[in-house]
Amino acid sequence: MMGVGIARTLVAASLFLGTPLHAQADAAAIAVGIVGWPADPSDAMHAMGSDMEACLVARIVEAAPEIVVTRQRTIRDALFPLLEPATQPATEEAFAVLLAREEVRGRLVQRGLHYLIAFSGGTLKDKPGGGILCGGGFGAGGCLGFSWQGETTALDAALWSLDAGVRIRHEDARVEGMFVMPAFILPVPIPARTKAQACHELGGKIARAIRQTAAEHAANR
């Protein structure tokens, strides 16, 4: 029994690794949904679409063009009123119970979806340090100084199988960076770009996870 499992995994891995990228791109589309969960109830607007969602979708499709992503607005509309920020499940167990509901799974599968990505996370900023002084007079002016602010973006995503109603993968990305602003006559802000880096990293991981899971699923059939 265990031997069969290992053999299947090997077949899936060989299918996944042995297929050239262009051939993978030509493979049948893998339809997935994406949703920010848990959504911040104090910022319900974000739950309808956010920069992070757009970034992740773009990165996933860039990394694996065969993946077709259905946006969270469509998912929330399809599952209304069960996945609104005010009514969403609070725990992972409750989320699993929601996905196990026949009407819920039916609505998603009806759209051809087999996987659902639930992502969360955000950016934490440290206290700013340093200082910049600006002044002017007699027809001239300028700034002098140096300031900085550390920031950390931590994102995570769970990949749920809609066929089984269980979480099958978990991926995360954590990027630390520093926003700096040297000022010599003019202040020059240099952003930390932790959000973009974390999104790029997580999007790539999700794309690989979906591709691998779909290959395993195909091998198990």
Binding site: A44, M45, D77, L79, F80, P81, L82, T87, R107
Partner: protein, 219 residues
């Protein structure tokens, strides 16, 4: 000398003309912005609800239908948009939802239905902030929905509400509608979602549904 005077007159007239044009342009812009704004239609898919095997009459009371979010800059007909959304909600909640006419009042006649659900009140409030960073725009929507026995006895009333605030950034909302309308939509959506989820697990609603089922069996 005359020529100089006429030139002065022309130069004096020019700013006045410019002012008139600017005023006209501003008034036109303001009138365009003041128009009543229709809200987006509700999503295509019917809301998810464990449907109750009951036939109900549906009434939208006047204070619920006519609620308006108004401000010197914007006017949004929240009542009409709410009614459109609740029509879909009630259709998904009950096997049959029949709109009852305003007159004669449903309490004064036999409806032959299992109950009557009434959207009694829609309250909408808008507090306009600014883009200074400390004064967000706030939208609040609240409903009162009541379910009655066909004889008029109250089974249950719900008062779902939602509030959304958003701090505008400088130049974010040159047209106020682009900021206020999505907030209004979100509030309506959240309040209706709260109502549906609360109603789905409501013991009074379940007991009423069980009574109807027993009556159906005994018939």
């Amino acid at each position: 000398m005359r020529w100089i005077e006429s030139e002065r007159l022309a130069s004096a007239r020019l700013p006045r003309l410019l002012k008139q044009w600017a005023c006209a342009a501003l008034v036109t812009l303001a009138l365009t912005a003041c128009g009543t704004v229709p809200l987006e239609p509700s999503p295509e898919a019917a809301p998810i609800f464990r449907q109750l095997d009951a036939r109900v009459g549906v009434v939208y009371a006047s204070p619920a239908r006519t609620a308006v979010l108004s401000n010197p800059l914007i006017r949004i007909e929240v009542g009409q948009a709410s009614v459109a959304r609740f029509e879909r909600v009630f259709t998904s909640m009950f096997t049959q939802a029949v709109a009852l006419p305003d007159w004669p009042p449903w309490r004064e006649r036999s409806t032959g239905l299992d109950g009557v659900i009434v959207l009694e009140q829609t309250d909408a409030e808008l507090v306009l902030g600014d883009d200074g960073g400390r004064n967000p725009d706030v939208v609040r929507i609240a409903y009162r929905v009541c379910l009655y026995e066909s004889g008029g006895a109250e089974i249950r009333c719900w008062n779902p509400a939602a509030r959304h605030s958003h701090q505008r950034h400088p130049l974010e909302c040159l047209d106020m509608r682009s900021c206020i309308m999505p907030q209004t939509e979100i509030c309506m959506r959240e309040a209706i979602a709260r109502f549906m989820v609360e109603a789905e697990t409501d013991p009074a609603l379940k007991a009423w549904s069980a009574r109807i089922a027993r009556r159906g069996v005994s018939r």
